[in-house]
């Protein structure tokens, strides 16, 4: 898998950065020629995950890039923070479960919106979520 042009690294430390995250991911989705529906799904997932990085992770970064696997082109976005981490991943990925006042749809919903979803988290060390969407 090789990385192509159009990468971007974005700090996520304030509300504005969640807006910027949506813009960066939309640009990548367009560069990758995802369909409008697939673009919308990817940007929505990115918005949820960027907000989690900010609100639950205490801030972090987003890295977005165009990737290629053989003939397939895709967009990969990595959200990383060194916040409190998630003790029970299975619970956190349950529809409707939130440790706060959220609707608990961010993680479970964004997983449904993308092709590949990976989450790594260690209590006290932080959380990394990687999502990928392939062009059809």
């Amino acid at each position: 898998m090789t990385v192509e042009a159009g990468e971007g690294l974005l700090p996520i430390v304030a509300n504005d950065d969640v807006v910027r995250a949506r813009q960066l991911v939309r640009t990548l989705a367009q560069d990758c020629r995802l369909s409008l529906v697939e673009q919308t799904k990817l940007v929505t997932a990115a918005s949820e995950l960027a907000r989690n990085t900010l609100v639950h992770g205490g801030g972090g970064t987003l890295r977005g890039e165009l990737i290629r696997n053989g003939l397939r082109r895709g967009v990969q976005v990595v959200f990383r923070d060194s916040g409190p981490g998630i003790a029970d991943l299975e619970l956190a990925l349950t529809d409707g479960w939130s440790s706060g006042t959220g609707m608990g749809l961010g993680l479970s919903g964004s997983r449904r919106l993308v092709d590949e979803f990976a989450i790594e988290s260690e209590p006290g060390r932080g959380t990394t979520v990687t999502i990928t969407k392939w062009a059809r």
């Binding site: 509300n15 799904k41 919903g109």
Partner: protein, 131 residues
């Protein structure tokens, strides 16, 4: 850098058209501003035009549902108009049904929906029955 979304008034209807990608604080401001304006203006309907909105995530979705619930409590009906097809598809897959939020395909249909709701409630549009 939160911004204020303008709220227009036409008769007893408040109209909001979301034209920019709002950060979360601006979304919350809009919620509060609308509640205040509903009371101030004694409006009976709120129309939220999202035809320019490219994505609705759980935060914005919750705001729409909350505005509908608050206005209902303040004697106004809310209708969300102009949702893009890609947004609707994504919302359903995200798991947000927006139950309790009335929607219409465009502004015109939204206004008619409000008229009907109001007429139905006051019995104003009851057809005179031919005897």
């Amino acid at each position: 850098m939160s911004e204020r979304v303008p709220i227009l008034q036409i008769g007893d209807i408040l109209l909001v058209s979301i034209q920019t990608d709002l950060d979360d604080q601006s979304v919350l401001n809009l919620q509060d501003d609308l509640a205040a304006r509903v009371v101030e203006s004694a409006a009976h309907g709120v129309v939220i035009d999202i035809s320019a909105v490219e994505i609705v995530d759980s935060f914005v979705g919750r705001m729409l549902a909350t505005i509908a619930a608050i206005s209902r409590m303040l004697d106004a009906e809310t209708v969300v108009v102009g949702m893009r097809p890609a947004v609707a598809i994504t919302l359903v897959e995200l798991g947000l049904s927006l139950g309790g939020v009335s929607t219409a395909l465009n502004l015109d249909l939204g206004l008619r929906l409000l008229e009907r709701a109001r007429g139905g409630r006051d019995g104003l549009t009851a057809e005179p029955t031919a005897s």
